[in-house]
Structures are given as structure tokens and as C-alpha cells.
């Protein structure tokens, strides 16, 4: 069980957090790190997108083998919705920047929603990985 989770954590979670980590590090090094700077960057959304997309890919073989199954369908739909919606949120951030030059109130709310979406879908992806690792172990 542990090996799959370690692999997932290393190659998916850490790599997905890399852009955000680098941004924060560079901001800290240049002394420009503020919450406002974080609100203006879409890295948290990339994290949610990557977490969801990877788990969707990992679930593919299971879904093909099992066929119609309600819990799997709910997990699959939620991950798909999470990945699509992360992209939509990124699009809205880009649109806001293009059209209005970046509205502070919108970006503040967007950051809160992005963090919420990222945390929820991280937990969901973790559950999916535990389920897959149990199957792998039993096989």
C-alpha cells in the first residue's frame, strides 16, 4: 500500500506543488512575497488540475474492468469535474486580468475558492490512491 502512495506523493503531489513552491521561494528571495502576489498567481489551480488528472488516469483501468459501479462513477465524475473546473477557474483569472487588469476583490475570492478546491480534491485523490493501492496489493 505504501509504495504506491509514496510514488504518488513524490511524482504527483510534490511535482504539482513545485511551481507554487518556486514562486513563493522566488518572491521570498526578492522580498516581494505578499498574499496579494499569491492571489495574482494561478499555481494553486495547476496543483488541483494535476492531482485530479493523474488520479483520473490511474482510475481508467479500474473503471474499464469493473464497468458500471456507482461509487466509482461518483469518484470519477468528481475528479473530472475538479480538473475541468480548475481549468475554468484559471481561465477566469486570465480573463479578469485581460479585461480589467485584475480585480482585487475577485482575485481574493478566487484564491479562497482555489485553496478550497485544491484541498478537497487532494483528499479525494488520496482516497482514490489508497483504494487503488489496496487493489494492487491484493492482486
Amino acid at each position: 500500500v505504501a509504495s504506491r502512495l509514496v510514488r504518488w506523493f513524490t511524482f504527483t503531489v510534490l511535482f504539482a506543488l513545485l511551481p507554487l513552491g518556486v514562486t513563493i521561494l522566488l518572491r521570498k528571495l526578492t522580498g516581494t512575497f505578499t498574499i496579494r502576489a499569491l492571489e495574482d498567481s494561478p499555481e494553486i489551480l495547476f496543483f488541483a488540475l494535476m492531482i485530479c488528472a493523474t488520479s483520473l488516469g490511474d482510475m481508467q483501468a479500474l473503471r474499464t474492468a469493473v464497468g458500471k459501479d456507482l461509487p466509482l462513477l461518483v469518484l470519477w465524475s468528481a475528479l473530472l469535474l475538479g480538473s475541468v473546473f480548475s481549468a475554468i477557474l484559471y481561465g477566469s483569472l486570465a480573463y479578469d486580468k485581460l479585461v480589467t487588469g485584475g480585480t482585487e476583490a475577485f482575485q481574493q475570492n478566487l484564491l479562497s475558492v482555489s485553496v478550497l478546491v485544491a484541498v478537497i480534491f487532494f483528499v479525494l485523490a488520496l482516497i482514490v490512491q489508497i483504494l487503488l493501492s489496496r487493489i494492487e496489493k491484493a492482486e
Binding site: V74, S77, L81, L89, L116
Partner: protein, 60 residues
């Protein structure tokens, strides 16, 4: 208009929470046993098909 996107985002997060509940249920009820049976059946079927194709090629 962009505020609507945020509200939909909250909806998606809500669905994510429901999915977490479903995932926890799947883990607690040890549903993977059922999935493993499906996996084995699928693999056995695949092997049967491969074997049949191999035999057909051999016969022709």
C-alpha cells in the same frame, strides 16, 4: 459575471466533499474485494481471447 464562476466553484467543491464521503464508504466497506474479482475476471477473459487468437493463427 466572474462571481458566478466562483459560486459554481463552491458547488464543485461541495460535490468533491460528497465524493470524499463516497470514497470513505468504499474504503470502509472494503469494496475493493468486489473490484478485484472484476479485475481477475477481465484478465481471465483477456487471456482466453489471446489464447483463441493464437490458436486461430496457428491453425491457419
Amino acid at each position: 459575471m466572474l462571481e458566478i464562476v466562483l459560486w459554481i466553484g463552491l458547488g464543485v467543491a461541495g460535490f468533491g466533499v460528497i465524493a470524499i464521503g463516497v470514497g470513505v464508504y468504499a474504503l470502509v466497506s472494503r469494496r475493493e474485494r468486489e473490484y478485484i474479482t472484476h479485475f481477475r475476471e477481465a484478465r481471465a477473459h483477456q487471456l482466453r481471447v489471446k489464447e483463441r487468437l493464437r490458436r486461430e493463427r496457428h491453425d491457419s
